[in-house]
């Protein structure tokens, strides 16, 4: 290899879980350091260098003007920009906030919201990165499995697009030889509309998929919502299911709005 990849790991409005998944590359750390020069990673480094970067992982969504400004600058300094995890891709759990009137949100949590807000503005709304800049790689998952991080790093050294699955969780579920909990147990599983990548971990531990990798390609949300109704799930529960990890995506918006 000629030159190491210059990489940055940046956090916006998120929980740091994606960065933690990056640091979960424990046995793989020597390999990562061999192919990558980690130039910016505030959670792990004291000396953080300005770009340009070859590969920038952005965790979290945009929820303040300061973050928006930073995102634009990062975009201009990055060859490849990765929406790193669910918040960056489609808002994730914090995006449930978007259904709340901003004043209600603010006043529930802070006694005098305006006093802070006047110094530090917040949109009181969660915006995925793709709303503002071109995203080169959508790395789904809450968090994205560390193997997908390795895949993104490896493919970047080769200069090719990473192989990130967008078929449904059901494919992985079948490979693990699970009995379908939606068909046979009539439990509301989000697997049929959710992008794979996790290894179908939830159905494997006898739990319905909750959809934490966001929508698969061409997800038929309407049909699954219909199925949920047929198996007896009340309407407000169906809405909650779709309004959880990716309610603000166009794929789930209609079902997530249904009250």
């Amino acid at each position: 290899m000629t030159e190491k990849l210059k990489i940055a790991v940046v956090k916006m409005t998120g929980c740091a879980g994606c960065q933690m998944e990056f640091l979960r590359l424990e046995e793989e750390m020597p390999f990562v350091l061999e192919i990558a020069d980690i130039r910016y990673f505030v959670m792990a480094k004291r000396e953080n260098l300005e770009g340009p970067y070859d590969l920038t992982f952005v965790e979290g969504s945009v929820s303040t003007p300061r973050e928006l400004e930073e995102l634009k600058e990062l975009r201009s300094r990055s060859k490849t920009l990765v929406a790193f995890g669910d918040c960056a891709c489609h808002g994730c759990v914090p995006s449930i906030l978007n259904w709340l009137p901003p004043d209600v949100a603010a006043n529930t949590v802070y006694p005098n919201f305006e006093a802070i807000h006047s110094k530090k503005e917040s949109y009181r709304k969660i915006c995925p990165l793709g709303e503002f800049v071109t995203v080169d790689i959508y790395q789904r998952g809450c968090p994205p499995h560390k193997n997908t991080i390795l895949e993104v790093l490896r493919s970047a050294t080769l200069g090719i697009a990473p192989f990130l699955r967008r078929h449904p969780v059901c494919v992985e579920c079948k490979l693990r030889e699970n009995v379908c909990i939606l068909t046979f147990e009539k439990r509301p599983c989000m697997g049929p509309v959710t992008a794979a990548g996790c290894g179908a971990i939830c159905p494997t531990v006898n739990r319905e998929c909750e959809g934490c990798y966001g929508p698969m390609s061409n997800a038929n949300a309407q049909s699954l919502a219909q199925k949920f109704s047929e198996i007896g799930l009340p309407k407000d529960h169906v809405t909650r299911k779709f309004r959880k990890y990716a309610g603000i995506t166009s794929a789930f918006a209609k079902e997530a709005d249904n009250r």
Binding site: K11, M12, T13, C15, A16, G17, C18, Q19, M20, E21, L23, R24, E26, E27, L33, I38, F41, V42, M43, A44, K45, R46, E47, N48, L49, S63, R66, E67, E70, E73, C92, V93, P94, I96, L97, W99, L100, V104, A105, A106, T108, V109, Y110, P111, I116, K119, S122, R124, C142, P143, I201, C202, T204, V205, R207, E210, C212, H237, R240, K244
Partner: protein
């Protein structure tokens, strides 16, 4: 002696989340001192309203990617308390092991990745690889152990999936548990070496007595349940939390500050736990404490690192003991949804974590109240800094700044958690 000085860290590094530090000294007096949290607020307490009681732990897990486990367990316990659900002994024990797994991984991250580089003259753990590879290797192995422990019980390390109201959707396989037990036993030496290594670091001698608050349990070292206790004599049930701790808003920070009613700021975390529950630590961790000359009560916040390391040893011992008593059988998880209000306190790696929920007849959340360890500690960190700064007045700016950062890192703050936590120019100057 510098009488005019400005210590400014635009973006605190090697801590979780987005915070900054600003200290202004004029004529030898501190004019301004602020730990500012510019991590944007996430309004969990607002959007949890209307969500179903069965998913609250799954949602609150997303408050923090470092300590999703205690957020899940605290939410589950608060919901169970609200609906009068009595969990089984097995569930209690599996949750304890899972939280310990999170403590091990988080403590190792804090000690080796976030704190140790300062003491070894490195900018990061990545930079340590060159000169300290055996130490880094030990760290990675222990961290992996903690992570794998959480995955074994919870189905995934970050944001586990199998812990639910009144139990687990799947109980770990006996053989997997047996192997994990062996790995824990084998890791004991590394944990002891970690403690000795941390104790050998040249930690600043800085003592400031303040109230330490932690969970305390007469039966065991408290991680998931117990009484709210303090070094100033508090010893009450968890549902009384709000009678003792109140939150204040400060206008420069998205994190609310906490104080003990009528007394003021307090410290939570490993040092508070070890100070309050030293006699409940495992035999080997107490022995190790003696060997390295660690005595309680200890009021040097920098010694939190040593407390953290001792807790890793204790976690391993307690996990092994607990695993031996878990029957690992499938259990009935059914429960009835009912209206009520529930409170729960647990110990996250960074300290006391409080959740409370009011649940309606239909199982929907009507009210949520969450206070995280770093929100508890925020004001105390500032109080410590206020006393530390005059003692380092003779140091050059760069060193004084580093000392302040080291103090903040001793608390291992988790800023994402705390917001519900100024103006700085971090995009222009990317060097913190």
């Amino acid at each position: 002696m510098s009488r005019e000085r400005e210590i400014k860290v635009g973006y605190l590094s090697r801590v979780e989340g987005q915070g900054s530090l600003e200290i202004k000294v004029s004529s030898g007096n501190i004019k301004e001192l602020r730990l500012e949290i510019f991590e944007p607020p996430k309004f969990f307490e607002a959007f949890l309203v209307g969500r179903h009681c069965s998913e609250v732990h799954e949602l609150t897990s997303r408050i923090c990617g470092i300590c999703p486990v205690p957020h899940q367990i605290t939410a589950l316990r608060a919901i169970e308390n609200a609906m009068g659900i009595q969990i089984s002994e097995q569930t209690r024990n599996l949750r304890k092991i899972m939280n310990y797994g999170c403590h091990i991984a988080s403590h190792i991250l804090s000690l080796y990745f976030l704190a140790a580089p300062d003491y070894l003259g490195c900018e990061s753990v990545f930079a340590m690889v060159k000169d300290y590879f055996p130490i880094v290797k030990r760290a990675l192995q222990l961290k992996k152990l903690g992570n794998d422990l959480v995955e074994l019980i919870g189905g995934r390390t970050i944001h586990p999936v199998s812990a639910v109201v009144n139990g687990f959707t799947k109980i770990p396989e006996r053989e997997d548990m047996r192997q994990m037990r062996q790995r824990l036993v084998d890791a004991k030496q590394d944990a002891a070496d970690t403690t000795k290594f941390i104790a050998s670091l040249n930690v600043p001698q800085f003592v400031r007595k303040c109230e330490h608050v932690a969970l305390s349990n007469p039966e065991e070292f408290a991680v998931n349940e117990g009484l709210l206790a303090s070094t100033e004599g508090i010893m009450v049930e968890e549902e009384k939390y709000r009678e003792y701790v109140r939150e204040l808003q400060v206008d420069y920070s998205w994190a609310k500050h906490s104080e003990i009613v009528g007394r003021g700021a307090f410290l939570v975390g490993p040092l508070a736990r070890v100070n309050l529950n030293f006699d409940k630590l495992s035999h080997d961790s107490k022995k190790l404490a003696q060997e390295i000359g660690f005595e309680v009560p200890n009021f040097n916040p920098f010694m939190s690192h040593v407390a953290r390391a001792l807790e890793v040893v204790n976690a391993i011992d307690d996990c092994v003991k607990t695993i031996d008593g878990v029957p690992l059988r499938e259990e009935d998880r059914s429960y009835e949804i009912g209206a009520g209000t529930g409170y729960a306190i647990t110990e996250a790696p960074r300290g006391l974590l409080y959740h409370s929920y009011e649940v309606g007849e239909d199982g929907a959340v009507k009210k949520a109240d969450i206070v995280t360890p770093t929100a508890h500690n925020a004001r105390n960190i500032e109080n410590d800094l206020r006393e530390l700064v005059p003692t380092i007045a003779d140091l050059p700016d760069e060193e004084a700044t580093l000392k302040c950062e080291m103090l903040v890192r001793a608390y291992d703050p988790c800023i994402s958690c705390s917001v519900h936590y100024v103006n700085l120019d971090r995009t222009k100057k990317r060097k913190s």
